[in-house]
């Protein structure tokens, strides 16, 4: 259902501009994140804010939220000048934000999380009163069964994301901003969030919706504003756009091929695992992957797809079964360094947590798994560091001149390339990647797919886990679908529809029925 049609039917006029920004600029040191951005938002509309990684979307959102003060530009709310730069003022102007980074507080209960941050809640904060007031909001995001006094730290990521949105609802703000709310959600939760956004807009809220899932845009948005390198282009109606046009606006050129070609020939068996169990995977798992092959494991969060990679990598303890790489068996209950020694590299899905050293330079990040290689005899060798950095940078197309920049200051796409590329230093035989493009824009995404394919062609075996069906279907040579800790099927992605894949990972029972 395209909501734009509905809006047109209700005859919302263009006169109801609630927010107007003109010439907004914001620099971080040398980084010009926003360069004269114009932005406009009408009452009751969903405005998609699109752009590559690092285009400035989150920066614009934070400026609106008062978390960053803009360097220049003017803002009007309801036609009246408004001075940005204080979170409290933005809040008072009825602007509410769910930021890209999760912002729920683990030590507090779900209900308390909803009412913190200035949402009116008078009187003593007792369990009972909190629960009573919070329940409607939790129900609205589909958390019917959740006890409002549950500590949030005990919840799954998706539930936390939903609580964050519930908090947004509780603010009853006129301008709601959601920065990539669905990046970490399951399909069913995504549906719920989308439905809610539509409902809120219908109730008269204005919504800014940031996403890299371009499909969503066509389902729920009315208009699109794109940012490119910190500059905006005038808003366009969704009904006037196609996916190709949107991508072209975002990256400045048409995206020729999102996915590279498939493997032409496969080599010997690179990795074989049999009957492997871990605390997270009680059912025995078998898997085989060949040199030059890219194996995709499709599954939702918590399906066990990531746990499978963690088991191979030694990040989780393997309790039963056996794993062989190039015919050499792993020791029982192997550790991560032991897996590394045997040529296995693992790039996790949570870049910030354990993928990068955000505060350290690119070069240091790149050498981190290869400390031995760059420090023969225990002494660091600058020449070797430079050589390895240059080698990895050129292979992954990371800007060499930024070798000494903090990785945290790079765009999401570049961060991901560093997190992935650092493993090239140990010349892995088997590369495990979890969610290779989470939060990565279309352009960088295509680039990363290309790199993975090239690595496979150079003789690596690659296994990636992903909850993004398009990605699995487009990239993998072979697909394993997983549901609740069990492998549903092994399929050739070119022979199945995406609908079948989605069914496999969401409700495989229907297949049996």
């Amino acid at each position: 259902m395209a909501k734009a049609d509905m809006m047109n039917m209700t005859g919302q006029g263009p006169g109801d501009v609630v927010l107007e920004m003109k010439g907004i600029s914001k620099s971080f040191g040398a980084v010009k994140a926003l360069r004269g951005v114009d932005f406009e938002l009408r009452k009751g509309e969903v405005m998609a804010l699109l752009g590559e990684n690092g285009a400035g979307k989150s920066t614009l959102v934070k400026v609106l939220a008062g978390l960053h003060a803009p360097d220049s530009g003017e803002t009007r709310i309801d036609g009246k000048p408004f001075s940005l730069g204080s979170a409290r003022l933005s809040h008072a102007a009825s602007i509410a934000v769910a930021e890209q980074e999760l912002s729920v507080i683990g030590a507090l209960s779900a209900a308390e999380n909803i009412f913190l941050g200035g949402v009116p809640f008078r009187g003593p904060w007792t369990r009972r009163r909190l629960a009573e007031k919070a329940r409607p909001y939790l129900e609205a995001v589909g958390l019917h069964h959740l006890d409002p006094s549950t500590r949030v730290e005990t919840l799954a990521v998706a539930e936390r994301q939903l609580i964050e949105i519930a908090r947004l609802l509780a603010t009853d703000a006129r301008i709601l901003i959601l920065d990539e709310p669905t990046a970490a959600l399951n399909d069913s939760d995504i549906e719920r969030v989308k439905a809610m956004v539509v409902r809120l807009a219908r109730a008269g809220h204005s919504i800014i919706y940031v996403t890299h899932r371009l499909g969503e845009v066509f389902e729920i948005a009315d208009r699109i504003t794109t940012l490119r390198s910190g500059q905006s282009s005038p808003p366009v109606n969704v009904s006037d756009m196609t996916l190709e046009k949107v991508i072209k606006k975002m990256i400045g050129r048409p995206l020729e091929e999102m996915f590279p070609h498939r493997a032409s020939s496969l080599g010997a068996i690179a990795l074989e695992m049999q009957g492997v169990t871990t605390p997270a995977l009680p059912l025995p798992q078998n898997l085989q992957v060949r040199k030059g092959e890219i194996l995709g494991i499709a599954g939702q969060i918590g399906s066990g797809s990531e746990a499978l990679l963690r088991a191979i990598a030694g990040a989780d303890i393997v309790e039963g079964g056996s794993i062989e790489v190039h015919g050499r068996a792993f020791p029982r209950a192997h550790s991560l360094p032991e897996a590394m020694k045997r040529g296995v590299a693992y790039c996790s899905s949570d870049r910030k947590l354990d993928g990068i050293f955000a505060e350290l330079p690119v070069s240091t990040n790149i050498i981190s798994p290869s400390m031995r290689r760059v420090s023969p005899g225990g002494l660091v060798n600058r020449r070797r560091i430079r050589a390895l950095t240059a080698e990895v940078s050129s292979q992954m197309a990371i800007d060499g001149s930024r070798a000494e920049y903090k990785v945290g200051a790079l765009s999401g796409g570049n961060q991901q390339k560093v997190a992935l590329g650092k493993w090239l230093g140990i010349a892995p035989r088997v590369l495990l990647v979890s969610e290779p493009t989470r939060g990565v824009d279309v352009g960088a995404r295509a680039e990363i797919y290309g790199h993975l394919r090239r690595l496979a062609e150079e003789g690596m075996a690659i296994i990636f886990a992903s909850s993004d069906i398009d990605e699995v279907q487009g990239l993998a040579d072979r697909v394993v679908t997983m549901y609740r800790g069990r492998q549903v099927r092994v399929v050739d992605p070119t022979r199945v529809t995406s609908h079948e894949l989605v069914r496999d990972i969401t409700h495989p029972e229907e297949e049996a029925a």
Partner: protein
């Protein structure tokens, strides 16, 4: 069995064990008279620990509490001629103002309080020496009645001072749990970045927590000095570590966002029972050190067993290997 896994219960159990051990080895330890004395001598530590625990729950640590208590003690003795109330107000109000200032600076600079308060910890101690001209100040003998009144035994095992401590703990506990400012303190303590993004004000709870730690330290210092009848500029140097230890024993986390005032009370009492028992046994000072060190390490042990730790992983790996 599952009850034993409750951290608060574990702590109560420890208190009971320490108390029983002392009662078995020290004559008259189990009397109401001694209970009165232990409560009375916990009062200062309890009030300081309450403030510091608020601070720790906000994810901060105010190292300057001991120095503030010393200054407040000196001021209270200087002003004791004007009566108890004036003396306390004169000691506490400047401390609260200082706490507000310090909290504001830390919030605005977004600097680690460990770093910032290391300076004030030293500087305020210097101030204590300066305002006292490096001398011990004593109550006029005619004012010693104040001391006696504060420690007067009442209600079997209480005194005005120890009742005040309990009042302070209950009040802070209620405010922390059931009020927005209290919840904000928990929020910024548990997850600073997340709470900021969630729109929780950052400055207000920080200012509040530092005002509390300084204010309560000053209240405790003033009352303890009035009770002791004198104040020296070098006093209360050890109260910081004792209060942190008590709070930790009581289950307050150094990483913020965790703990309760009931836990703090249990921690304070455990420490005090242990220390006064050892003192009465005539044990040398190092024995008290040894015992405190052991208790702290024991709690570390408990926390490591309760939680997940790399060592548990390693042990599992090796046992799986050994079995094969």
């Amino acid at each position: 069995m599952t009850l034993l896994k409750n951290p608060l219960l574990q702590r109560v159990l420890l208190l009971v064990i320490v108390y029983a051990a002392m009662a078995a080895s020290v004559t008259n330890f189990g009397t109401t008279g001694n209970a009165y004395a232990i409560l009375e001598s916990s009062a200062m530590l309890g009030i300081v620990a309450a403030g510091l625990a608020v601070n720790m729950m906000a994810g901060e640590l105010d190292l300057s509490v001991g120095s503030v208590a010393a200054c407040a003690g000196l001021v209270a003795i200087m002003m004791s001629g004007h009566g108890l109330v004036i003396a306390i107000i004169a000691a506490v109000v400047p401390a609260v103002l200082y706490g507000i200032l310090q909290g504001y600076a830390i919030a605005r600079l977004q600097i680690s309080s460990l770093v910032f308060t290391l300076g004030t910890f030293i500087g305020i101690r210097g101030l204590a020496y300066v305002i006292s001209d490096e001398r011990t100040l004593s109550l006029a003998l005619s004012d010693l009645g104040i001391s006696m009144a504060l420690r007067e035994r009442m209600l079997l095992i209480f005194s005005p001072f120890s009742l005040l401590m309990i009042g302070v703990l209950v009040l802070t506990g209620l405010l922390l749990r059931y009020s927005r400012p209290g919840r904000e303190i928990f929020a910024i303590g548990g997850s600073r970045k997340e709470s900021r993004a969630a729109g929780v004000p950052q400055t207000r709870p920080l200012v509040l927590s530092f005002a509390t730690s300084a204010g309560l330290a000053a209240l405790a210092g003033a009352l303890a000095s009035l009770k002791g009848g004198s104040a020296t500029p070098g006093s209360y140097e050890t109260v910081l570590l004792a209060a942190v230890t008590a709070a930790l024993i009581g289950g307050v986390s150094l990483y913020g966002g965790r703990g309760s005032m009931l836990g703090v009370l249990i921690g304070v009492l455990t420490l005090q029972v242990l220390l006064s028992g050892l003192q009465l046994l005539g044990a040398p000072n190092w024995a008290a050190n040894l015992a405190t060190g052991l208790i702290l390490l024991a709690f570390l042990g408990v926390d490591l067993v309760n939680g997940q730790s790399p060592v548990a992983d390693a042990v599992r790996r090796y046992s799986l290997r050994a079995r094969a």
